[in-house]
Structures are given as structure tokens and as C-alpha cells.
């Protein structure tokens, strides 16, 4: 890998890991960054400027809950000024009318709102926040009344899988232009909670088909992006559209990651945007170089005709399930270890949902 890679199109800025919700499938790492470790506004603004110069087009402002940052309006204003398309990924909790107006005035382009259920009982139980559902509906109305595009994001798991098609209906009712129906991906907190999140094969198939059927029904009204349930798939997802090919993540403390879960892979050397320019990190940091291109691949990926389609699947999934980040993602039916996947899915999808390990900070050492 001596040749410089093409520049990234997207940057996911995890502004903070603080969040008022505690969804059991949160994609944040199990080891959350504390507020004291977060970068300040000046550091983030420099990163946004460097990103725009490098060729980033979309900036995703995420978290945790980005509205937990007091300087969010200042960050959005700067990002828009340097030409980035700004996408706020929010639970809606902590977003006040005053802050929303400031974000709009600063040039916010798009709001992606998470919804945990089609009614308050389910949504507030999953999010662990009473009154959350009502607040989300209020935020959705602010966004659509302003004329900004709204995406509704719903994560599907055993507790709400029967409601998946109704999530699409809810998004339409809220005036969303786009809805993301994302079957749970098992990393971080979701991996920890897998036995209470995994739907049965039959539930998954039914939900998947019902959501797909909405596509034709709502053509021209809402764009449906459907994230497949990978434990029930034949081929793995093209995770991140290939490692270090299109996007980068910056953690609250400035670590630049090829994906939000990459820290689970031992031995990877991540560089910090606090120490080095973003372009240098993108082009040369060992973590980005580790799985770029095809040279790192083992069989069956190395000689597979699909290697430029799915890039061997997901490195973090190979790590989580097989303990080898360079292995073929075992979701793939060509993996010699694939039998493990339906076995886990069957085992983890039985029984009642009897509670979760809620996403939260580990206790401070002195209190442990």
C-alpha cells in the first residue's frame, strides 16, 4: 500500500459519548470516553476544516448524544461554513427549540432522529428514558415544519421486530423523507446483549419481507434504507464499503478510527487527530492501512470473486466471533466457520426478553 488512497467522502464525528438514553444495542464502544477526555470546540473545528480540505463531503455529528455538547451550534456553524454537508444524528433528547433554531441558522442540512418503538411504552422502555417518545415526536415536527429533511432511524431486535413495518408507517406519518430500518448489528453493547436482542429466523424473515413490501407502496414518499440482519444472511455486508475506503470516525477524545467498533481489534495502532493532520492519518496511519486493499486477506476471501463487492465482510465481526480480525467474516456461507452463526442465532433468539445490560459508564474506580 504505497499509493495514497482516494480521499474519504464521509466523516463521523462522535462529539461525546454522553447520552441521556441507554439503548441496549448502542454502537458506542463498551469503554466510553468520559466528558473530561472530550476534545474542545477549537480542536473539532480544526478537524472539520481539515476534513473539508481532504475531500470529505458529509459530516455526521453523532455521539452519544451530540446535543449533550454545549458548543454544538458553534460546531455546526463552522462545519457548514467550510462547506460540509452537516447531518445531526440525535435521539432528540436534549434538543431544545432554542438550540434547534441556532443549528438551523448555522446551516444544518439534515436531521436523523432515532426512534426506539412505535409507541411510548416500547420506545421509552428500550431507551430507558420516560417521556422520550413524546419529545421525539415534537422534534420531528420542528424539523419538518422548518422544511429540513428528516430521517427516522429505527433499530430492530426481538423486542420490537413485529413492529418493523409499522416503523416505516410511523416515519411517513412524521413526515420523514428517509427511513432507516436497521436490524441490530452485534458489536459493543449489542454483542453483550445479543441473547435478549436476537429475533428468531422466522420473525426476521417476516419483518424483512414486510418492510420490503413498503418500498413500492411508499415510492416517491419515503426512501427506505434497510440494513439487513446479518446473522441470517448468505453473504456478509460490505462493512464501511471497505476498510479505509470511504469514511472515517473520530472518537470524542480524537482517536481516528476506520469504523466505530475498530478498537476491539487488538494490535491496531490508532493515531489521534489531536497530534496529526487528518490527511496524514487517513493516508498513513497503521490502523487504516491494516485492512486496506486485498493483500491482508486469507482464503476463502483472497481468491473469491466477491472480494471487491463485500471486501471480506466485517473485520470486527471476524474478531468478535472468531478471534481473528483477518479471517473471512463468518456471516459468509463460504467461511469454513459459518456453521457457528446460525447456531448462535438460534440459541440467542429463544426465550423471553428478560432485561438488558444498559449502556452506561463503568463505575469510577474509587466507587467500584
Amino acid at each position: 500500500m504505497t499509493e495514497a488512497p482516494p480521499p474519504p467522502e464521509g466523516l463521523l464525528a462522535e462529539l461525546t459519548h454522553r447520552c441521556p438514553l441507554s439503548c441496549p444495542y448502542c454502537s458506542n464502544p463498551v469503554e466510553l470516553d468520559r466528558a473530561s477526555a472530550e476534545m474542545n470546540a477549537a480542536e473539532w473545528k480544526r478537524i472539520f476544516s481539515e476534513a473539508a480540505e481532504l475531500g470529505v463531503l458529509h459530516l455526521h455529528l453523532s455521539g452519544g448524544e451530540p446535543c449533550s455538547r454545549r458548543d454544538l451550534a458553534e460546531l455546526v456553524e463552522h462545519a457548514a461554513r467550510v462547506g460540509l454537508y452537516t447531518n445531526l444524528i440525535t435521539s432528540g433528547i436534549g434538543l431544545t427549540r432554542d438550540l434547534f433554531d441556532k443549528l438551523v441558522a448555522g446551516g444544518l442540512d439534515h436531521v436523523q432522529l432515532s426512534i426506539q418503538g412505535v409507541d411510548a411504552a416500547m420506545a421509552d422502555w428500550i431507551g430507558g428514558y420516560k417521556g422520550g417518545y413524546a419529545k421525539k415526536r415534537e422534534v420531528a415536527a420542528w424539523v419538518t415544519n422548518e422544511g429540513l429533511p428528516l430521517t427516522v432511524n429505527a433499530v430492530i431486535h426481538r423486542g420490537n421486530v413485529e413492529d418493523a413495518p409499522r416503523m416505516v408507517d410511523l416515519a411517513v406519518e412524521l413526515g420523514a423523507r428517509r427511513v432507516e430500518i436497521a436490524h441490530t448489528q452485534y458489536y459493543g453493547w449489542a454483542l453483550r446483549n445479543r441473547a435478549n436482542l436476537m429475533p428468531t429466523r422466522e420473525q426476521t424473515d417476516r419483518a424483512y419481507a414486510a418492510v420490503e413490501a413498503r418500498r413500492e407502496h411508499y415510492r416517491g414518499t419515503v426512501v427506505i434504507d434497510h440494513v439487513a440482519p446479518d446473522y441470517h444472511a448468505k453473504f456478509p455486508k460490505a462493512c464501511m464499503n471497505g476498510w479505509g475506503r470511504q469514511t472515517m470516525n473520530v472518537s470524542p477524545s480524537g482517536k481516528v478510527l476506520p469504523c466505530h467498533s475498530a478498537e476491539i481489534i487488538p494490535g491496531l495502532e490508532f493515531w489521534s487527530a489531536r497530534d496529526k493532520p487528518l490527511a496524514e492519518i487517513w493516508e498513513r496511519s497503521p490502523a487504516f492501512q491494516a485492512f486496506r486493499g486485498f493483500d491482508w486477506m486469507q482464503e476463502p476471501c483472497r481468491s473469491c470473486e466477491r472480494k471487491a463487492i463485500d471486501f471480506g465482510g466485517c473485520r470486527c465481526q471476524a474478531m468478535a466471533l472468531l478471534g481473528d480480525a483477518a479471517a473471512c467474516d463468518p456471516i459468509c456461507t463460504k467461511s469454513p466457520h459459518h456453521a457457528l452463526v446460525p447456531e448462535i442465532a438460534a440459541r440467542d433468539s429463544v426465550g423471553p426478553v428478560d432485561g438488558f445490560a444498559p449502556r452506561r459508564y463503568a463505575k469510577a474506580p474509587e466507587l467500584a
Binding site: P7, E9, E53, L54, G55, L57, H58, G83, Y85, N87, D109, H110, Q112, E146, G147, L148, P149, T151, R177, R178, R219, G220, T221, V222, V223, D225
Partner: protein, 93 residues
């Protein structure tokens, strides 16, 4: 499908859909929620006119004159482009 777009409709890009030059890659793109759409030079000229102030008929006749092209051909190109963007919620009529 494209025949359904009336001559007097005034196409525009809605809030949150931005046509911009991507200087780093020497191209034009349409940016929308979670989408980057590469835009060819002809489409750029069409989309620059879609600001809600001009009717489809005016856009077609303007482009046909400027590029010395057959109006029927221009009309088909414009309608095909807009129909595909409307379906993706990236243009409004």
C-alpha cells in the same frame, strides 16, 4: 412516468439537497441525506436552473437554445433526470 411532469411545474431542489462542485475530485455532486450523487455536466446545467422560479417549459427551451439542441431531446433528458430525483425525494415539482 416522465410524461407525468407538467410543462408548468417549477422544479426545485428541496432544503437539504445541495448541488456543489467537488473540487478535490474535479466533479459536481448532489448532496442529500446519506447520498452523494455524481452529476454529469449536462445535468449540472439542468439542475442550476431548477430553483423554483422557472417552469419546466422555460428550462427546456432555454437549454435547447443555449446548446443548439432539439427541444424534444432536451425535454426527454430533463424529465428523465427530474423523475429519478423526485422518486428519491431529491427534487420537488
Amino acid at each position: 412516468m416522465s410524461a407525468a411532469i407538467a410543462d408548468d411545474s417549477r422544479p426545485r431542489l428541496p432544503r437539504g439537497v445541495r448541488l456543489r462542485e467537488d473540487k478535490v475530485r474535479s466533479r459536481w455532486v448532489l448532496l442529500a441525506p446519506e447520498r452523494v450523487v455524481k452529476v454529469n455536466p449536462i445535468a449540472v446545467e439542468i439542475l442550476k436552473l431548477c430553483d423554483g422560479s422557472r417552469s419546466l417549459g422555460e428550462i427546456v427551451s432555454g437549454l435547447a437554445e443555449r446548446f443548439k439542441a432539439e427541444p424534444a431531446r432536451v425535454s426527454a433528458d430533463v424529465r428523465t433526470l427530474l423523475a429519478s430525483l423526485v422518486e428519491k425525494r431529491m427534487a420537488e415539482l
